[in-house]
């Protein structure tokens, strides 16, 4: 065990997995000599060589498109998209090929690639360095999505993604790259996809969150401690979704607030609310309320805090559910 920052845990996972499996190849913009703009890939090129830690041209669709071809040649590419919104040009390859190629070959070829990227706001960055694009990925058939909130899960979910036979997108909360620090298991550490984590136990209300919003949910639960016993469920993986974990928590509390940083319409919180409407309606004592980013472009950073779901907004929503 070692105390690691979240970004260090990502780096640790890459070292451990590349050591374990010589078919893993890390590729992306500035991932080699520089070690990535966040240093998530630091040391990999020195350790594994320039053939297995590749500085690519600045071309996201080309990165993901050639990664598809690398899979066909027997590699397990781990692709870094430098920032959340920088990944949009690669959606062409993601939607048209990454999520479909195995199906297209009727299961005779597999595409075990991993796409990882820092995501989310709150870091006082220029436009398009702040997005939460998980919906685009979750909505794509054939693709799985994991979002850690802690260093241990950042390591374990990335390892699971790399080992998974299907394409997996891992969104890493950049806001917490260097703020979250905890003991992380040394060596091989895998957190299975599709298993949620109870980040705080409670009995009156469940706050469902993932990634950076888990920390906001925990803040709200603490702020409400004198009023209600709030459970915080960190989904960790959006696809596969741990429906059993979600339904078990809601069966216990009967009240739900879902928090997501992305814009509201058709966001993942809507999916959670729909699952609850279909499968837990008789357990619910009040409406399922979403606390999300607004349906606007991510704002100028001087006023970005007004956009981000805050402890205050989650507390307000929780009180509305609790009083219903």
């Amino acid at each position: 065990m070692a105390d690691l920052l979240l970004v260090e845990a990502v780096n640790d996972a890459l070292h451990v997995e590349m050591e374990r499996d010589p078919s893993i190849l890390v590729m992306g913009e500035d991932v080699g000599k520089l070690g990535g703009v966040f240093r998530a890939t630091a040391g990999l090129q020195d350790r594994f060589g320039a053939d297995r830690c590749v500085d690519t041209p600045l071309a996201e669709a080309g990165i993901l498109g050639t990664a598809v071809g690398l899979c066909m040649a027997g590699w397990r590419p781990v692709v870094e998209m430098q920032y959340d919104a920088f990944s949009y040009p690669s959606l062409d390859q993601l939607i048209n090929h990454v999520g479909r190629y195995r199906w297209r070959t009727r299961g005779t070829m597999t595409f075990p690639l991993t796409i990882r990227m820092p995501y989310g706001g709150g870091v006082r960055a220029p436009e398009l360095h702040d997005d939460s694009p998980e919906t685009y990925y979750v909505h794509t058939p054939g693709v799985k999505v994991a979002i850690p909130s802690t260093p241990s899960d950042a390591k374990g979910l990335l390892a699971a993604a790399i080992r998974d036979p299907d394409p997996v997108v891992v969104l890493e909360p950049k806001l917490h790259y260097r703020t979250a620090k905890e003991e992380v298991p040394a060596g091989e550490h895998v957190v299975s996809l599709g298993v949620s984590r109870v980040a705080r136990e409670g009995s009156d209300l469940t706050i469902v969150a993932y990634g950076a919003m888990t920390h906001v949910a925990l803040g709200a639960a603490e702020a409400l401690a004198d009023e209600a016993s709030c459970e915080v469920l960190d989904l960790r993986s959006l696809k596969p979704l741990d429906e059993d974990g979600l339904l078990a928590s809601v069966a216990k509390t009967g009240r739900v607030v879902v928090v997501q940083e992305a814009p509201r319409v058709c966001g993942f919180a809507a999916e959670v609310a729909a699952v609850l409407a279909e499968k837990a309606i008789f357990d619910l004592h009040g409406p399922v309320i979403r606390v999300t980013g607004y349906d606007v472009p991510y704002p100028y950073w001087q006023i970005e805090d007004a956009y981000m779901p805050s402890v205050e907004r989650v507390v307000d929503a929780a009180r509305r559910v609790l009083s219903a």
Binding site: L25, D51, T56, P57, A59, A61, G62, L64, G65, T66, A67, V68, G69, L70, C71, M72, A73, G74, W75, P89, D92, Q93, N96, H97, G99, Y101, R102, W103, R104, T105, R106, G107, T108, M109, T110, P141, G142, K144, D164, P165, D166, G194, K239, P240, L241, E243
Partner: protein, 355 residues
Amino acid sequence: MSRVLPAEADLRRVIGDGEAIPDGEVDGLAADDLLQLYRNLVLLRTYDERSVVYHRQGRIGTYAIFWGHEALQAGSVFALEGRDWIFPAYRESAIGLLRGIPVSTVLSWWRGHPSGWWNPTEYNVASICVPIATQIPHAVGFAWGSALKGEDRVALTLFGDGATSEGAFHEGATFAGVTKAPVILFCNNNQWAISTPLSAQTAAPTLADKAIGYGIPGVRVDGTDVLAVYEATRDAVLRARAGDGPTFIEAVTYRAAPHATADDPSMYVDADRVQEARENECVGRYARYLTRLGVLSDSLAEKIKTEALEVMRAGIAQAESEPPADPSLVFEHAYVDPPPSQHADEAELRRILGG
């Protein structure tokens, strides 16, 4: 370090016209090779012509015609070894016939039946790529990844003139250049992207000129001259195997047929130019060359055509005898390890269909 020369302005040609333009020849091709090439051309031509008929008869769905483009497919593939991979666009839907993919399989693809989706590793032919140009980075990644593993495999990817306007072409060619991937970027410049002429597609004097910007040699070849295509591709394969990286080949043709069975080119095309292209079409042109060479007789040509027609008859019969696809195949192979929700969906479908 090889130097990238300016793209060749002139079209490479081997086959003459039997009159003023003399015939050339390609080193290393024996009479048997020349005849095999002819069989390949006739198979593709017959496949294409019969497919249009099958479509009109309602036996296959919308079909993308490749009439007149047989030489560039047969010629380029003939320069490869079996271990080399082909990454086709939909215009080359039947190119796998040259690698042993059954006619019935390709027809089933156009019939929308699951049996039309082949195993690429069985034939070293990637799946038919419908979105334009997006197969180019796949071929580049495959070739690059094979070279990294020390394997001697070349990738050939085919695409049209319109595809060179796509970002995927630009990014794929960029990667090909910097990785020195053993890949051949093969462009079928048939002058049309549905109704959009090349003049509206690019201001580049030739498409081969585009290659220079990626540090890749650009070659222009007469796409209706199967021997010139073969020779140009063979040169590119040799470069790739020698570690000298990719080559861009612009095969100049003219689309003398509709884009697809749903298209009406009379709304936009130049009828005289179509007529000229049809008179100079690649299969007849090669047949006349072989006849002048004394390799092909009328009776042998007739026999080869009859064999191809028989292969097609058997192929459509086989495709039509496929049992109806099981609707639960809807769920098949989307994931190796599907999310639990998929099992519930599949159970629901079975219940509804069963009830």
